[in-house]
Symmetry: C2
Subunit: 377 residues, 2 copies
């Protein structure tokens, strides 16, 4: 089989982008780099749907998450962390590492937080300085209603920080319209690049928090990055080849149009879910995201074996379940450089892998449902 | 002209490496990645000349410098920082950001620290927990005698941390033999890759400091990285395409042999210095490194104009002087994927750029001296 990457990051990189990144190395303290970086920064604003600066770090997404804690808060500050999976937990861990008192709003894995619960928590504790959540909680393929959360947080003293690492450029997010102060993203997802870049947008409310913050930071200093940003520059050596690739992929996103990008992911997700339910499976999340679908393994079927069939026999790489979901779900992404026939292939592979592991699935039921879904829209 | 990159980082990347990094994306939580990472980690040990773990971060060199402070020290700790240029100053800034009391051993720019001065400082203050210096202070092209510094620090309670970002894989460094506890490196120098990876080796003495340290850290946590390292893994998403390139370049370093790598850089540096003095110029540093040469501009010649001639007219990118050396020196690197004829070209270009800017240089005097130097060895 041909190798196929259908995990919620890293996602496939278009051959054109791979070859663009293979251009000869050039120096970053040059007009050529600043020109590219200026274009990239404008493209990021479009992707994030913001007029605020979007800072680019060399480093993976967790680094930008840490930046949101170390740059916005002080030791002993109160924060509110929505925790409904592995990435919500990471917010709690980072707060703990910095001596920030994180109150955790625990949500059943696979369910989305109720924005009213955030409103109540903020109402009960007016000292809360920041709210940390995810656009898509990747570990459970669950989408948060960030628009509703933003409406709840905007008139409080807290900044809203959204880990959109896996979902930006797939699930809808409009940073300014939805009042998100910091949106965090990574390169290896909807941005269709290899891993190695992370991003954070900074609203004026977030800037005020930055000025107040006394936690130690250096490499991920938002203040330093903002100073350089004004000059289309970076405080430290940028990951030049990835920034070259970013220029390419942002151009393709602009050409497709952000609303079309959102609509494409919605269509692919709908067809994937149709294919899975068509073969008699249940979708895990009660609030499924459009960038990845988590499907429950049927009773008596070992999810780890299905995963192994997909990976080793069929050479299609999805993601399995993490922590308490290990062996219980399979997560198939439809994110980034992906089209309808990738969904047909993924559902076909899942069907075959289930059949090889003794599941009572009618051959063709999944792909037929996918075809029906695509034919209907 | 063809564009030529001769700055002390980023350095040229071999076309073979560029194309290797253009291979299709693959997932990092797989046996294929772990196998590659295992090979890379063995290659890094060879390059660093250590039996200790060498950790790889997605991020540029400054991030690994920060890791050395935030992971080895506590707030209020005493550190000794050797400051003879821009990168020595960076050590001081990072310590300050973390509330570490850095005593700065100021050295004239262009001179190397006297190891006796480090010995005296450590003797006067037994509370010093760490010594921070550079292998090559890139801003002045000056080499530190790390072997001698290591001999001085090894029997004290302090850990020795060396920023070898620009010089590793060029100037000689033997981490274990020379008793360096943490060697820091970056991908875009002697490792002949684009920027985006940084490295830190961790001795057992450094590990003890890690266990004692209470400063906040998360993304650059050495403890987390060591835990994953044992499984040929990384705590956060690695910069996969750069790691693929790293596999390639470490293979070429092993094939050439580390002693041959050191000898090649020594020969290129010798010929470069011969070319520069051959055209009547003075070498800036009193302890010149083998990876980059800083040359003084002759009286009455504007270094910024020479730099512009090189960059804009001749399309060869060196580095200029930084801070107080702006306009006064030109730095030409001979580092990484570079051979004898790159030195001939660089000296030829410098000669022509000087002539265009009114310097009294005899045409051909530089390149003739380079030829003589190469012919003699």
């Amino acid at each position: 089989m041909k190798p196929r990457l259908m995990a919620p990051g890293p996602t496939p990189v278009a051959p054109e982008t791979l070859l663009a990144m293979a251009r000869p190395a050039f120096h970053h303290r040059t007009p050529a780099f600043r020109e590219l970086f200026h274009e990239v920064n404008e493209g990021l604003k479009y992707l994030f749907q913001t007029e605020n600066p979007v800072l680019t770090f060399a480093g993976s997404g967790t680094g930008a998450m840490e930046a949101a804690v170390s740059n916005l808060l002080c030791q002993g500050d109160q924060a509110l962390v929505v925790r409904g999976g592995k990435f919500g937990e990471r917010w709690g861990e980072i707060c703990e590492a910095y001596g920030v008192n994180a109150a955790c709003l625990d949500v059943e894995w696979g369910e989305a937080v109720n924005p009213d619960d955030i409103a109540n928590a903020l109402d009960e504790n007016r000292d809360i300085k920041s709210v940390h959540t995810t656009l898509c909680e990747t570990s459970t393929a669950t989408l948060t209603d960030i628009k509703a959360v933003g409406a709840v947080v905007k008139d409080t003293g807290a900044v809203l920080v959204v880990d959109a690492i896996s979902a930006l450029g797939g699930d809808e997010l409009r940073a300014d319209d939805w009042h998100v102060d910091c949106v965090i993203a990574g390169s290896q997802k909807g941005l269709m690049l290899p891993p190695g870049l992370s991003f954070i947008s900074v609203s004026s409310k977030a800037r005020e928090a930055v000025e107040r913050s006394t936690l130690p930071k250096y490499y991920f200093s938002i203040e330093r990055a903002l100073d350089s940003y004004e000059k289309d520059d970076t405080p430290w050596t940028p990951a030049v080849s990835l920034v070259v690739g970013l220029g390419e992929t942002l151009r393709t996103i602009r050409e497709e149009g952000i609303d079309n990008v959102f609509a494409r992911h919605a269509r692919l997700a709908m067809a994937t879910r149709a294919g899975m339910t068509g073969m008699g499976l249940d979708i895990f999340s009660k609030s499924p995201a459009n960038i990845v679908t988590a499907v429950k393994m049927p009773q008596g079927v070992d999810g780890l074996k299905v995963l192994s069939s997909l990976r080793d026999d069929l050479e299609l790489t999805p993601a399995g379940g993490q922590a308490k979901l290990k062996g219980k779900i399979i997560r198939i992404a439809h994110l980034g450089y992906v089209d309808d026939f990738d969904v047909v292939t993924a559902v076909s592979a899942l069907e075959l892998a289930l059949l090889r592991n003794g599941a009572a699935v009618k051959p063709g039921s999944g792909v037929a449902a996918v075809q029906e879904a695509f034919a209907g829209v």
